[in-house]
Symmetry: C2
Subunit: 306 residues, 2 copies
Amino acid sequence: MDWKAAIEAARARIAGHVLKTPVVAPRGFGLNHAIEMKLEQMQHTGSFKARGAFNTLLAGPVPQAGLVAASGGNHGAAVAYAARALGHQAHIFVPEMAGPSKIALIRETGAQLTVVSGEYANALAAAQEYEDASGAMQIHAYDAPATVAGQGTCMAEWEAQGLQADTVLIAVGGGGLIAGALAWLQGARKVVAVEPETSCALNAALKAVQPVDVDVSGVAANALGARRIGDICFGLAVEHGATSVLVSDAAITAAQTALWRELRQLVEPAGATALAALMSGAYRPEPGERVAVLVCGANVAPDPLA
Amino acid sequence: MDWKAAIEAARARIAGHVLKTPVVAPRGFGLNHAIEMKLEQMQHTGSFKARGAFNTLLAGPVPQAGLVAASGGNHGAAVAYAARALGHQAHIFVPEMAGPSKIALIRETGAQLTVVSGEYANALAAAQEYEDASGAMQIHAYDAPATVAGQGTCMAEWEAQGLQADTVLIAVGGGGLIAGALAWLQGARKVVAVEPETSCALNAALKAVQPVDVDVSGVAANALGARRIGDICFGLAVEHGATSVLVSDAAITAAQTALWRELRQLVEPAGATALAALMSGAYRPEPGERVAVLVCGANVAPDPLA
């Protein structure tokens, strides 16, 4: 697959529908160097997921029955938002673990919503049943080419904004965002995959040399708690030699706190997970190595203004 | 005074100490046009005030007795932060209305802190007494040339980042931030001064054709509740014909909510006041007029992670 072309096409397709999110290069966070950051949590519906959703909807025809998606919350909100913007119906299946903030966010879009007991995998099974029965088009949260190409526009945009880093740290759940970055960069910069110790589908897959099921839990599980890494992500991670590191829930929470205290950016745990790898020392740059962190989600619970 | 030169000098002086805050141009907010925004609330200590504080401290010698400042909270936090960064003592006088979040923010810096009953003017009187008794250097929150030149670096930086707007909306308390913008722009763009209906020292001064005392109250009073506009601001507002508009507390709260819902930026009421003028229609751009909003403070209460 010509990922560069697919991502360039996605970028043109979604340009009028997504926000060009800002970049900043703060010092602080207990580190002795600046960190380039892209504040992708400012994207519509509070995460990068709107990129893949718009790309999928705009890339081809959408059936009369509309859209279906299974989601820990952020992908569902993005699909619901993109569906409304483009005049389609949407039915979103979320696991209970998505939590009330994310469920409310989806409900506000006017999408049909089904809350499924248990974890993400259960919501995905329910969405697949609905797809089969209704003829609705499913937008996979991370393991579909159009989703990955859409998420890849985030890194393409960042490079166009003057990204200088040698190394980019990205949080991984099912792997859509990092797959897009790997697909765009094609080895031009080092990519570090950061996962919670308790939700580490990519790390487990790299060890097993194939995608395997993992248990998921912890503070970031409603965004990063995929039971199995996407095949597209796994393939790209192996092809380009992504570095995998793990962080504790305590490290994630410390990074989340620091992003508020030092930069007044209130993010969800998943949104702080990449920074946690630097702050905790799970990833230690070499002297002179320039690092960047992708801040990817802000659907924090409880909603601070609810 | 050669304000352009003073602001250029300030910019060079403080470059290593302040954050180059990001810019973004979102659509939304119930408007049919994009709004350029500078997210200055990401500045150290959560407001633009760090610019004036660092400029003052770096522009000349600081006495052994250190610094003193009176502040509704944001200026005090900025002076305390800059003092610590540069190795000086600081004594900050805050009015009770600053609230626990801002008082805690100052306390964390290790500065001496005195909470004064009542409003900002009382804290200013106490700071002046302390200055006379101790020999400490007072950094005025808004009505001193070095403070204004420091705040002016925000607009200088924004222009260097490619600001396109014909018109810039800026919230006004004592007027330091807008004075810096007027001083830098020298009429090159239209400047709209936005004040709460219940804390409108500049609006009252423009009507009276001289600074006059006003009563202050409302949701943004702990940041914008100056009893009298600064002479420097008043002079520059008259010289350059700043447009003055007023917004209600309800409009401020609606803008604050929208900044979180649509852009995941959690700001304090003062930080949303300029946007409130656009969203409420208190300021209506002409067709084709390009507008920009300076988002200036994020020390929201309660602290969402406290």
